[in-house]
Assembly symmetry: C2
Homo-oligomer: 440 residues x 2
């Protein structure tokens, strides 16, 4: 009963070459999250469909994987980590607030996948949220944690672009547009990077927005300069809008707080075009752009969403969160040549020589492991050439050859494959020498 081995289109196996560096990145990200007091949370993959749709509405339904279940209610796979967080907070009224959590788990989207662009139907989402405080210090901590996290991952030249949903509202108002157009208008503006200015204007026209209103809106947004300069300009343009006044005050406070948290001012910029597609944002929003690679796009982003929790809880709970695009970061580091793909943690392959009993090979493996050198034995009795080939193919940097002479003399022959260095080393020094060669 042979079954053809195959994978569902848009899903993939993640092999050691990718996971070894990815897990190292995650370890350092998690340490950064925890240094800010964020605690880990995991939620189930399966949620009731109506809970997922509570946020995304029936529009979202086609993007959600439903389960075939012979029961009353329909289950589905989570689509993001924000809905499960909201549901969890609503279900745990005794949870001490503010609740600061990070969550690193897969999500599933029944999207058209684009494997060449790294877009899959299952991917790891990496979120940090603070639930239960309206303080802008929490937003500032999100900006600081994402900046610290991305630096910890080895990226130096990036920029956190900041805007405020209520400032955008003020601009929509100042352009003379109806509140009911706001969501659609911002969704069009959000595509500026992708479809360009003309593309946005075309979309706005299709929404029935008149040319002069479009011009007024884009004039409010087309402001550049240092943060204070831009905020003063917004005060002049939008001072009559209460939303805008509140937004400007909050952005100033946010900048003070991020400075207090040690975020380099050069890593921050205000960007009045930034809208962050999702409708649920209510306050400051931000997005991280990589400057080291051109047109690389976003490494992550987030914002404040004070109303979302009320869908599940009845009462509104203020919240603010940020998501780091782990696979984007990984792909940036790869493009920049800052990741060494390895397909195994083994630093040495202990060969099996014809005259050496397997127990001797295993004893040496055990010695090396105890001394902190990950290693593996060659299992079969094979020609040396085959054993060297395996080391090459697996990317194991060192070969350790142990013949009967070496056993008698308490030594081993160590060969560093890349440099070709070969030497006889006393067993007591072997682990240290392997580490040295592999560091070089």
């Amino acid at each position: 009963m042979a079954v053809e081995a195959r994978l569902y289109n848009g899903t993939r196996d993640v092999l050691p070459e990718e996971l070894l560096p990815r897990n190292a990145l995650l370890k350092s990200l998690v340490a950064t999250f925890e240094s800010f007091g964020f605690a880990p949370l995991e939620t189930p993959a399966m949620e009731y469909l109506d809970i997922l749709l509570g946020k995304y509405g029936t529009d979202g339904e086609k993007l959600i994987y439903k389960l075939a279940y012979k029961g009353g209610e329909v289950l589905a796979l989570r689509y993001d980590l924000t809905v499960p967080l909201s549901r969890m907070v609503a279900m745990n009224p005794e949870l001490p607030l503010p609740f600061k959590r990070y969550q690193v788990q897969p999500v599933w989207r029944a999207d058209r996948p684009q494997p060449a662009q790294g877009r899959f139907r299952e991917f790891i989402q990496c979120d940090v949220d603070t639930v239960g405080t309206a303080s802008l210090a929490a937003d500032a901590e999100n900006v600081a944690v994402v900046a610290a996290g991305i630096r910890a991952l080895g990226l130096e030249r990036f920029e956190v672009r900041i805007n405020h949903r209520r400032l955008l509202r003020g601009m929509v108002e100042a352009a003379g547009l109806a509140r009911s157009d706001e969501a659609n208008v911002l969704r069009a503006v959000d595509k500026l990077d992708k479809i360009g200015r003309e593309g946005v204007q075309k979309e706005l026209s299709e929404l029935g927005i008149a040319g002069d209103a479009q011009a007024r809106l884009l004039a409010c947004m087309d402001v550049s300069g240092g943060p204070e300069e831009m905020l003063r300009r917004a005060e002049e343009d939008l001072g009559s809008s209460e939303d805008a006044r509140i937004a400007i005050r909050e952005l100033r406070e946010l900048l003070d707080f991020t400075a207090a948290l040690g975020v380099d001012a050069e890593r921050l910029a205000i960007d009045f075009h930034l809208t962050r597609g999702l409708d649920y944002y209510t306050g400051p929003i931000y997005e991280v752009r990589l400057l080291e690679l051109e047109n690389f796009g976003s490494l992550g982003g987030g914002g404040r969403y004070d109303d979302l929790m009320s869908i599940y809880g009845g009462t509104a709970v203020p919240a603010t969160g940020v998501s780091i695009g782990l696979s984007r970061v990984l792909s940036a580091l790869l493009k920049l040549g800052r990741l060494q793909p390895r397909s195994t943690p083994s630093q040495a392959l202990v060969f099996r020589m014809a005259d050496t009993p397997m127990v001797e090979v295993l004893k040496l493996c055990s010695e090396l492991r105890t001394a902190g050198v990950p290693c593996e034995p060659f299992y079969e009795a094979e020609r040396l050439k085959k054993q060297f080939q395996l080391a090459e193919r697996k990317g194991i940097p060192c070969a350790v050859l142990l013949g009967s002479d070496e056993i008698a003399q308490g030594t081993a022959t160590l060969k560093h494959l890349k440099s070709g260095v070969q030497e006889t080393v006393a067993r007591a020094d072997l682990a240290r020498r392997i580490s040295e060669l592999n560091r070089a």
Copy 2:
């Protein structure tokens, strides 16, 4: 459009109290796996149903969550990590063998959940497998990695019980039973711990096994003593069975290899009753029992399965693997009082005093984080009592109070909540002092 927040029966949120210690355990497990040269692998949650059923057959179908999909083929959630591994190896013929991998991912079972016993419909599986070698050294490495892993997790008194599928076959043969009864008979014997000797005899009778055959079978199994003594006894009882002779030779070799790998002989025992329910094992099998707690059951186990891969690949690929029950280990450590549940990584809560600007609070947080002390600020302007309550409820061990006097003097007031110790500390010494108090 309020939606009632609720969870699917048999699933759960895993909160920081459990995840903080669990992730620390995982980190140490993963380091042990990697020291043996095992590399990480992740596979998608969704697999084609026929691939999952290739192993479990239609019996398994009711335990598998199927997805509602409007396409030709039916998708389902993985039920274990062995089938995805087999599928992945079959799809990647260029993979250098042996492939040593560990995999820590959730699996889903449409079982009747028993939350009180810690059995959920979604749980993390933690597997280590070596694919592509028939060498018993790989089996020995599995025994060694599981023993080293469990010791690294802080459990000392445990026993790896070892048996061999072909020895069991020899016993079935020696009892005069038909080969076609083997699977059912072993499934009945497997329940010995749960239903006792009489229960097993009852099940065997229901299978139509005569009383004298039952007695012969159980007589072969009811042997105790040191490994060599037991193997000699099996040679006497079963020497005429080729399967038994091979099994005995392999078990001797396995014991030699585990000794070479530094596994304490006291941690190993042969157990002729051990059958490991699953039909797909073909060679050595083993199971880890905790001795520190009575009737605690298994912490994990595994064995060799040389035929499984052929379902997907056409050609058989020898394989051997072991699974560690992470949640079992966690629950054992909790029962033994060796885990400190913490609900936050924060070691200090920096209070917000009435006369202190938030920027000062955030600056101090930033200083502490840079000095390696995870911490968080109190976000709101609240009475001190409320701030102390939050520290208590979150289990944050230290409170740092920063008033205008302290700011002027470059100090802070540090209070260790459990001991009640309160002192004025220079800011430069604060991180060190917090670490000291929290270690004490």
